[in-house]
């Protein structure tokens, strides 16, 4: 086991990427993720890697596409507006089944918004974001340790499923420092027989997202569909902290879940029986886990730093008859543990059959 160190989230993520064997970074400046390219511009040459600052996010994502097609593990990082510019390239990567990692250290939107943390990009990340019928694999860390661990995991999943993956963090996770262990797993880079590595002495290969023959595109979409169903069956990541006979179940992801965990401790110290469920993979979403746990408890409180995006996924997953209320803090604010506790207490008092209303933290 490595020594414990104190690292910034963005740096931990960059080290995770290096531990995953990645050596190619393409990116473009945008706050609050600049620590990643700045760190990697000095770090990658030390491990024989390549750092390229592109002229735009459109260029970055297509450099990623090019490196992925050549079989490399590659990454780009950005934030809100830059991720929006990458959507065309991401759709092409999904359509061409090219793996790669896109890091979104989110900020507030819509528009220029602001550089403080927000979870407003949940829907864009989990629904695909670009045009067409596809998903990204989306992992949401909630600590600096997970910024490292899940980055490694995301590279493996991307390669395994030949699909672009996203780390959905935010300004809090990117900028905060925490103790962390850097324990790289043994590096096993997968074979990529599909990669474009030259055709000398072997059959020429083609990677594309354009299928013009009658029915070919339909078949391709069903093929992608099967891949996403397999992801949903096999790759769900979820953290739970449950009790017997719970009054309320708390559901939250990312940095927001840290505040929720503080509220959980406060509630339990007051004798309230509270459970906690944190989706780590936002796509595939832990539908089954939410369904099973919500069967045990009639009341669910979703806490998010947006106006209710994961809330939709939770409500799609609830056990029939169970209701989920939303405690929301969009636009750069952070819900305080005391506010979450107050909402928990309200729910406990409310009796059975709560309404699915939106409450502002």
């Amino acid at each position: 086991m490595s020594e414990r160190q104190i690292l910034k989230g963005c740096v931990a993520l960059a080290e995770g990427a290096i531990a995953a064997g990645y050596r190619f970074y393409f990116g473009y400046p945008i706050t609050p993720q600049n620590d990643i390219p700045e760190y990697l511009s000095a770090r990658l040459p030390q491990v024989g890697g390549v750092f390229i600052q592109a002229e735009s996010e459109v260029a970055s994502i297509n450099m990623l596409l090019g490196a992925a097609a050549a079989g490399a593990r590659a990454m780009t990082s950005s934030s809100g507006p830059g991720i929006s510019l990458m959507q065309e390239g991401l759709s092409y990567m999904a359509g061409s089944e090219l793996p790669g990692l896109v890091v979104n250290i989110t900020r507030i939107g819509p528009g220029l918004g602001g550089i403080a943390a927000s979870q407003g990009d949940y829907r864009q990340a989990t629904r695909g974001g670009g045009h067409g019928d596809y998903h990204l694999i989306v992992l949401a860390p909630n600590s600096v340790q997970e910024m490292y661990d899940l980055t490694i995991k995301a590279f493996y999943l991307a390669d395994k499923y030949r699909n672009p993956a996203m780390i959905l963090a935010d300004a809090i996770l990117g900028q905060m420092k925490e103790p962390i262990f850097l324990n790289p797993p043994p590096l096993v880079l997968p074979e990529k027989p599909w990669a474009l590595t030259g055709a000398r002495g072997k059959k020429a290969q083609l990677i594309k997202s354009l299928y013009l023959a009658d029915g070919e595109m339909e078949q391709h979409n069903w093929h992608l569909y099967e891949k996403y169903r397999r992801l949903e069956r096999e790759e769900v990541l979820v953290e739970t902290d449950l009790q017997e006979k719970m009054d309320v179940l708390l559901v939250s992801f990312g940095s927001c879940s840290r505040m929720v965990q503080s509220a959980l401790d406060l509630a339990r110290s007051r004798g309230i029986r509270v459970g906690f469920l944190r989706p780590i993979s936002l796509y595939p979403f832990p539908q089954q886990a939410v369904r099973e746990v919500s069967r045990e408890v009639g009341k669910v409180l979703v806490v998010e730093m947006n106006t209710g995006q994961m809330w939709d996924d939770v409500r799609l997953s609830l056990y029939p008859g169970c209701r989920a209320r939303l405690l929301a803090r969009p636009g750069g604010g952070i819900p305080a543990p005391g506010q979450i506790l107050a909402e928990i207490e309200n729910l406990v008092k409310a009796g059975d059959g709560i309404d699915e209303s939106v409450h502002q933290a």
Partner: protein, 309 residues
């Protein structure tokens, strides 16, 4: 129009004091000198992509702009302004607007040399009547001093570090002013805040141009270039004197130099700034020669262009 200082100080100020740009920032000086060139009888519409100038002059609920002002995304000031200008021309033709408006974009080098180049090229080619001003501080200063297409070779930035594996930025900058000139638009110029009369005169010409005009202005940044904040004008003047930033204009295809200089070695200019400090140590010194060679070659090319009849 006059470029006498006594007349210029009487002009209305369109960028008010009290904005939050750094003391010694070149950008606000660029804006004020350019807008001093505006005719008295026109109204202004400013487009400003995200960058230091935008974030520091429009902090909600305040604004420093005593004009109409559109903020837009990083890559599309030229597009946004094209739309505004096209709408104005149509409304003017329909008789719905009586006043004369002029349209000016202020973009940094990140938003102009790199991500905004496509939008700029489109606007210049379509022939909108607008002035695009690049305030060029040679890196992405607003996001924390990352290298740009305008960054000089050898320069330290946060994404072109120096050390065992690197001696700063490896690549030479692109010649954006010449790229703009290659669009064969009526007016293109390169200016410096150290030569205010020259710059105001260029702005006056740009305002008088019935079509697109492009002005590229060197805008020293003491945070990114690492020099004392009171030296901004001095550093800008050294850039002109060393011919690393020559002053010229291209008027209807005719190139001409607009400042007489006694060409100084570029080393003195580089020495004045911390971003080049590593070039004066050990093996890096050979980069100084390459920079001088680049400056000489570009200066020769420019002089030849300006001699042609």
């Amino acid at each position: 129009m006059s470029t006498k200082l006594t007349d210029l100080v009487q002009k209305p100020q369109f960028l008010s004091g009290g904005h939050r740009l750094c003391a010694g920032c070149g950008a606000s000086i660029v804006v004020r000198q350019i807008l001093m060139g505006a005719p008295d009888d026109v109204k202004l519409v400013i487009a400003n992509p995200t960058g230091c100038l935008e974030v520091s002059t429009t902090i909600y609920p305040y604004t420093s702009w005593n004009t109409s002002y559109i903020h837009c995304a990083f890559e599309n000031a030229a597009s946004t302004l094209s739309g505004a200008e096209a709408a104005y021309q149509s409304l003017k033709e329909q008789g719905k607007i009586k006043e004369d408006f002029r349209f000016i974009a202020f973009g940094g080098d990140g938003g102009t040399y790199d991500i905004g180049l496509q939008a700029l090229s489109g606007a210049l080619e379509r022939g909108h009547r607008l002035i695009y001003v690049c305030y060029n501080n040679e890196a992405y200063m607003n996001t924390g001093i990352q290298r740009s297409g305008a960054t000089i070779m050898g320069s330290w930035t946060t994404t072109s570090p120096y050390g065992r594996y690197s001696s700063g930025k490896k690549e030479n900058r692109k010649d954006l002013t010449a790229i703009a000139a290659a669009h064969n638009i009526p007016y293109v110029a390169q200016g410096s805040i150290s030569h205010w009369r020259d710059l105001v005169r260029k702005a006056q010409k740009a305002f008088a141009t019935d079509g697109p005009a492009f002005i590229n202005v060197l805008s020293p940044c003491h945070r990114g270039w690492r020099y004392p904040m009171e030296k901004t004008i001095e550093v800008a003047r050294m850039a002109v004197q060393s011919c690393i930033w020559p002053l010229y204009e291209v008027e209807n295809g005719k190139w001409s130099l607009t400042a007489s200089v006694k060409k100084q070695p570029v080393e003195e200019y580089l020495k004045s700034q911390g971003r080049f400090a590593h070039l004066f140590k050990g093996e890096n010194k050979k980069i100084l020669d390459i920079i001088q060679e680049n400056v000489d070659a570009e200066w020769d090319k420019l002089q030849k262009r300006c001699e042609q009849k």
